[in-house]
């Protein structure tokens, strides 16, 4: 498999959110604004790349019986790193992402890619896969966050888009918990329709 194919795989064909439905918890929780979504995406992508790199490098050294605990320790190390760096340099973002930074450890995407891909592929391909998956995850979060921020506060990346009148009386529910579930439901529905059309055209 070529590097480019590994890279684009995570963005479209096996998008972790829309296709594999992995990593739902941070996805729903931090998409209240585009800024949070980008921050979470960057953090998760960093951890994903580092853990895929290391797992792939060590894939012949780690005995297969204890591989899952080993992966978890590797992932937790990088998560701790992100947690501390973010706390030091981006304290505001760190506060708004809150508990979901340590929870990157149990994000199924990362463990899933370590077990499902990096475990069996050379270093370069694993890193390409991690970059693709990270971009796919971030992209999905930005899509949902765009809808939620636009509807819920009338802004996009803190820029006022829908005018002051809307911002004074926004559709608040989009930012609250139910909005995440309902909007994601509709987005997945639209994806289903698009997929069916594309399948029909072939």
């Amino acid at each position: 498999m070529s590097l480019a194919k590994d890279l684009t795989n995570g963005i479209f064909r096996e998008n972790p959110i829309f296709k594999l439905a992995l990593g739902m918890c941070p996805f729903l929780a931090v998409t209240t604004s585009v800024e949070n979504a980008l921050g979470m995406g960057a953090a998760a992508t960093f951890v994903l790349i580092c853990s895929n790199f290391l797992v792939s490098l060590l894939r012949n050294l780690i005995p297969s019986k204890v591989r899952i605990p080993c992966y978890i320790v590797i992932i937790a190390t990088f998560v701790t790193l992100v947690d501390m760096v973010m706390n030091a340099y981006l304290p505001e973002l760190h506060r708004s992402l809150g508990i979901f930074i340590p929870l990157i450890v149990v994000n199924c995407i990362i463990l899933g890619r370590a077990e499902g891909f990096a475990n069996r592929h050379p270093v370069l391909n694993s890193v390409a896969d991690a970059v693709g998956m990270g971009i796919g995850f971030t992209l999905a979060m930005v899509i949902l966050a765009t809808f939620r921020e636009l509807l819920g506060s009338g802004t996009w990346l803190n820029m006022n888009v829908l005018g002051r009148n809307y911002a004074n009386q926004p559709l608040l529910i989009a930012i609250l918990a139910p909005g995440a579930f309902i909007l994601l439901g509709f987005i997945l529905g639209v994806f289903n329709i698009l997929e069916k059309r594309r399948g029909g055209a072939k």
Partner: protein, 215 residues
């Protein structure tokens, strides 16, 4: 740390915590908050994967819920003790995430082995759900939140049990709804996952009604 000092730490507040002693009013507030107001699934978004994955059948939902309550309580006991009696005195609090995930993973393994040995009936009921629990973010979430909120051990355990009950409540309600949904006439594009999210959203609106309860 002397014996009496240790017991004091365990029963009173966490080091640096705000709580003094055990207050029934505060306990009730924690319980109501964890089950209804800040339901771990529907308003904190923790444990979504099992919430969607195991909510197709009512009995497996109940089994998963019981397993989560059980492991959550044990994990809180383990993580609180290790954090406050080991990591804080040694100045290693930055190892929190690594320590907690290892505690949870080994705890799940241990529980699985013990159940298999001593209670095959319970193992039959909960066994298949246990491996899934390691990656249930609600467990790690409760452990981390208890530390962030500086709860004492008593409050932490109360919070863990209540969070587990809240998770089970959401899971069982969802399972009931999805069983009815099987017979409903859903538009083709929304079948499967999309309709599950829409239903979860409507349930979440219902739980918003509890906001303001128990302050």
């Amino acid at each position: 740390m002397t014996g009496s000092n240790l017991i004091l730490t365990l029963t009173m507040a966490a080091p640096g915590g705000s709580g003094t002693g055990f207050d029934v009013g505060r306990m009730m507030a924690i319980i109501i908050a964890a089950i209804f107001v800040n339901n771990y699934v529907l308003s904190r978004f923790l444990g979504i994967c099992p919430f969607l994955g195991v909510s197709k059948q009512l009995d497996s939902a109940v089994g998963m819920g019981a397993a989560v309550i059980f492991v959550m309580t044990l994990a809180t006991l383990g993580s609180w003790t290790v954090y406050n009696l080991l990591l804080v005195p040694m100045g290693l609090t930055y190892l929190r995430t690594i320590a907690f995930i290892l505690i949870i993973a080994s705890l799940v393994q241990l529980v699985e082995m013990i159940l298999q040995k001593f209670s095959p009936v319970l193992y039959q009921a909960l066994g298949i759900f246990l491996p899934l629990i390691t990656t249930n973010c609600a467990i790690l979430g409760v452990a981390v939140l208890n530390i962030d909120e500086k709860y004492s051990l008593g409050y932490s355990l109360v919070n863990a049990v209540a969070a587990g009950i809240g998770f089970t409540l959401a899971l069982v309600l969802m399972a009931g709804l999805r069983q009815r949904l099987e017979l409903a006439d859903v538009p083709p594009a929304l079948r499967g996952k999309p309709i599950a999210f829409l239903v979860a959203g409507i349930m979440s609106i219902a739980f918003l009604g509890f906001a303001g309860l128990g302050g």
